[in-house]
């Protein structure tokens, strides 16, 4: 994986973030004042900024930083996001998208526009309402839109259109017609040598030259020296090349834009001519352009080319930037189409590279997923078949039984192979991190070494894709806040060079990723104070060290004294936690003052299957995710203690743990079960704290395929999903956190989005 590939991933992520940003802003615009929406918008900009910083895209970083600062004001309720404010923000989002596109595809953006917006954003951050400058602005995008819309079909059609040359519509938009100050024309020397592909794609050199003639006064030299004898002539080969001197008051960009759709298929060199056209080394060949012209009217309009104004050049540049913007917009609306357009654009570059890469194929993920689903069905069906054969077969030695055993083996192998298609090593993600460490360390003036271990640990592709973002946040936090400055490290007798260690390993069917720094560890006193200042906890609350450490996962929490370019707005850790939870994972922190902190993430290897314990509750079969279970035990009557009106505690090795009757909470039975007759599953829930879940019996442990309940029904409180067991019946997968939250007296019907926050607050 080289740098470009890594960058490409960043740009793909930017695309998502920009979409998120826009939808969030639009929601705000519609009057949504949910703090989570503001947070989402803020995170999107923050993530773009972070990534851009790693790649040294300075324009993007500086703009995103200003944007972020203003959004922070909205987030902290200093700035009311009214219509006017949002107008500026939506425009800023557009500019941000432009900047991303410009960073990816090269080219520039309208500097005036971004600079104007920076000023407006800064004004907003200072608490000033949008002024006249803002009201004047909207005219521009509105005016620019039709032009962009007109240009729309061109990029998609032109390169592949074999019906003939597609006129470039937007070059004419630049010809405003105002005749004001005259700029001294410059002479450009254009070297144009078409390749055979140019003709093969239906472009025509003569028509390109005609278009070029519209840019300014020109003289053409045709080099025919490459033309072979007639009998050796290949009719499809390109033999001619041209040297053109163009006298125009437009810039190089305008000249290049004439060749826009042909530039991959020709050698094009545009430079300011040092000498005048007469000095060209070749014999001028008379070239009658008017013979090609079927509509003279178009040319008439260009007679005034010398009178073109500076403004025209600017507007042409703007048109060009609109095209890039349009490309971005098209990407959002019609992803497929833009992909093909982008593919066409990259085709020339990729053509060479493609030859060497024949070892792998790219397969649409949907196809793989369908295969995985089908194999899941196959496994279930096979289990059902075996079961019924066993029930009906008394001898037990029939050929059917042997065949079935082989079938079982085969299906298991198929399942493993299919899962392996999606499994990929975490290496690419780890590699991205090393650069982030370097960059961030440089920026904050620290010297830090990243040690990675277990890069070849394989995990499902979806997990890898979603891992990058939280990991980036954590690495940045570790470098920026975790590791002390070299001076401080030396003062405390440590190696001035800090170490960040990133490890991946498989552990009991999950992937465990550990991020360890040898920094100062969490300053619990400051974390606690900060939480009190931010109204996250009560001033007199009594928290354990672990609970204090966990406070850093709360939204809006930051211990950094100053806001930096890198991290420290407290968006990091709550995002991390949320992303990890969304993947069905858990994150924990352990920190020792003076010796550093360790973040441990435990994630499922795949999102399609789950290791579960199959249990019986009130006659119903349930699956409890194995990851939630700490231990199972058979309660004795002497260990059960009543507590209050209807609570019961179980004593486990001299500590007391609340008993949660799953059957009662899920409404499967009306009365409390007798704990002595059942089994207790000791589970650890979000926000720490253990609970003993009471079930009637344990049937066994099994890997199950996760099925959605929402597809045909709706979300069921207390239930995470469904699965199908070997007997073909549906079993429900328990949502342990929801059940534990319900046992704390919260309603099971609560919106699941609020759940994790609430349970955290309950411990705080």
């Amino acid at each position: 994986m080289d740098m470009n590939e890594i960058k490409e991933i960043f740009f793909q992520e930017c695309e998502e973030q920009l979409a998120e940003l826009e939808s969030g802003l639009l929601k705000l615009n519609d009057g949504d004042r949910d703090p989570e929406t503001v947070n989402a918008v803020f995170r999107a900009v923050h993530s773009i900024k972070g990534g851009a910083g790693a790649f040294g895209l300075d324009d993007l970083v500086s703009f995103a930083h200003v944007f972020e600062t203003t959004l922070d004001c909205v987030r902290s309720n200093k700035l009311e996001p009214n219509q006017d404010v949002l107008k500026v923000m939506l425009k800023s989002a557009d500019v941000l998208a432009d900047l991303v596109t410009a960073s990816r595809d090269g080219g520039g953006v309208d500097e005036g526009r971004s600079r104007g917006l920076v000023k407006e954003l800064e004004a907003l951050a200072r608490g000033e309402m949008p002024s006249g400058g803002a009201s004047a602005e909207p005219a521009k995008p509105a005016a620019a839109k039709p032009a962009a819309a007109k240009a729309a079909p061109a990029p998609a059609v032109a390169p592949t259109d074999d019906s003939g040359f597609q006129p470039i519509p937007f070059t004419f938009d630049g010809f405003g017609g105002e005749e004001e100050a005259v700029m001294a024309p410059t002479t450009f020397e254009v070297q144009f040598k078409p390749r055979r592909e140019l003709y093969a794609k239906g472009n025509e050199a003569a028509l390109l030259l005609r278009d070029l003639s519209r840019v300014g006064e020109m003289s053409i030299n045709c080099d025919t020296s490459a033309l072979p004898a007639f009998d050796k002539l290949d009719p499809e080969e390109a033999y001619f090349s041209w040297t053109i001197a163009v006298k125009t008051n437009k810039n190089e960009q305008d000249i290049r834009s004439v060749f826009e759709f042909a530039e991959w298929d020709c050698d094009l060199d545009v430079k300011v001519a040092q000498t005048v056209a007469e000095d060209l080394p070749m014999v001028p060949v008379p070239f009658d352009l008017s013979a090609l012209d079927d509509d003279a009217g178009a040319d008439d309009g260009n007679d005034g080319a010398e009178d073109q104004t500076v403004a025209n050049a600017v507007s042409a540049a703007e048109t060009a930037s609109n095209v890039t913007k349009l490309a971005a917009a098209a990407a959002r609306v019609e992803k497929k189409e833009s992909q093909s357009a982008a593919a066409a654009a990259a085709a020339a570059n990729a053509a060479n590279a493609a030859n060497s890469a024949g070892q792998t194929i790219r397969v649409d993920l949907d196809r793989v997923d369908r295969l995985i689903n089908l194999v899941g069905e196959l496994v279930i069906n096979q289990a059902m078949l075996s079961q019924s054969v066993i029930e009906n077969d008394t001898t037990g030695t029939s050929a059917i039984n042997m065949g079935l055993e082989e079938l079982q083996q085969l299906t298991r192998e198929i399942q493993d192979s299919v899962m392996a298609i999606r499994a990929q090593p975490v290496k690419p993600v780890f590699q991205r991190m090393s650069r982030i460490v370097r960059e961030v360390a440089d920026m904050v003036g620290k010297s830090i070494r990243l040690v990675t271990e277990g890069e070849n640990t394989e995990v499902d592709k979806t997990v890898i894709d979603k891992l990058a973002e939280p990991l980036t946040h954590m690495i940045r936090n570790a470098v920026d806040h975790g590791i002390e400055s070299p001076e401080k490290r030396e003062a405390s007798g440590k190696n001035p060079e800090g170490t960040v260690k990133l490890t991946a390993k498989h552990r009991s069917g999950r992937i465990v990723i550990e991020l360890q720094d040898d920094g100062a560890g969490i300053n619990r006193e400051r974390v606690r104070q900060k939480a009190i200042d931010n109204d996250l906890i009560a001033a007199d609350s009594n928290l354990t060290d672990e609970e204090i450490d966990n406070l850093i996962f709360m939204p809006g929490f930051s211990t950094a004294d100053k806001i930096s370019d890198i991290s420290g707005r407290g968006v990091g850790m709550d995002v991390v936690k949320r992303s990890i939870q969304a993947l069905g994972g858990r994150i924990s922190i352990s920190s020792r003052p003076g010796q550093g902190s360790t973040f441990t993430m435990s994630l499922p290897l795949t999102l399609a299957v789950l290791d579960g314990m199959v249990v019986t509750v009130a006659g119903q079969t349930l699956v409890v995710p194995l990851t939630a279970i700490v231990e199972t035990l058979q309660p004795e009557a002497s260990a059960i203690h009543s507590f209050g009106a209807n609570q019961r505690l179980i004593s486990i090795r001299n500590s007391f743990c609340p008993l949660v009757d799953v059957g009662r909470i899920l409404n499967f039975r009306g009365t409390q079960a007798n704990p002595v007759e059942g089994v207790a599953l000791l589970v650890e829930s979000e926000g720490g704290g253990q609970r003993a879940l009471m079930v009637d019996a344990i049937q066994g442990q099994r890997q199950v395929v996760i099925k959605s309940l929402e597809a045909n029904y709706t979300h069921v409180p207390g239930i995470a999903a469904a699965t199908i067991l070997g007997d073909g019946r549906v079993a429900l997968i328990l949502d342990v956190d929801a059940v534990v939250a319900a046992s704390r007296g919260q309603s099971l019907r609560q919106d699941s989005g609020m759940k994790s926050d609430m349970s955290l607050q309950a411990t705080g």
Partner: protein, 155 residues
């Protein structure tokens, strides 16, 4: 009554008739995917009384609705002879528990009589017309009205 009026402008149609208790009902055949024999459903916690649970339909999780309870009659006591009508309702696929499928009817709109004015809310909500066939009375019901858009009441 607006639905009965609307029906009059349409041509002939096919309906599937089925029995619940001593009453007969029918639904538009276009919404029916298949008929399946009864299997035991897995109960869902905190579900409305008419949701019997979920079954496995070739790998998909299919909610089962006790049509008898849904229509306000007493809860069904399912036996092996009961069947599920697997129907597409809007974007969801659900199984409807009925006693037996009795007939496939081809009717024109003239055959469909308006629902008489009765006090029962349920009839007003789901019934779209009444058919008289061979001295039997068959009630045409609208499935879309049975299963609300957002299953908020079920949640």
């Amino acid at each position: 009554m607006s639905y009965a009026g609307k029906n009059l402008v349409q041509g002939s149609r096919e309906l599937i008739a089925f029995r619940i208790g001593d009453q007969e009902f029918c639904v538009n055949i276009m919404s029916v995917r298949e008929i399946r024999g009864w299997t035991k459903a897995t109960a869902l916690p905190h579900s409305p009384s008419y949701v019997m649970g979920v079954i496995n339909l070739r790998g998909a999780v299919l909610p089962i609705i006790d049509l008898s309870a849904r229509l306000g009659m007493r809860k069904a006591e399912p036996t092996q002879r009961h069947v599920f009508i697997v129907a597409q309702v809007k974007k969801r696929v659900v199984g409807l528990l009925v006693e037996a499928v009795s007939d496939i009817l081809t009717v024109t709109d003239e055959n469909i009589q308006p629902v008489p004015e009765v006090s029962s809310e349920l009839e007003k909500q789901y019934a779209r017309g009444i058919l008289a066939i061979d001295k039997r009375m068959i009630c045409l019901i609208e499935l879309d009205a049975l299963i609300p858009d957002t299953e908020s009441e079920a949640a």
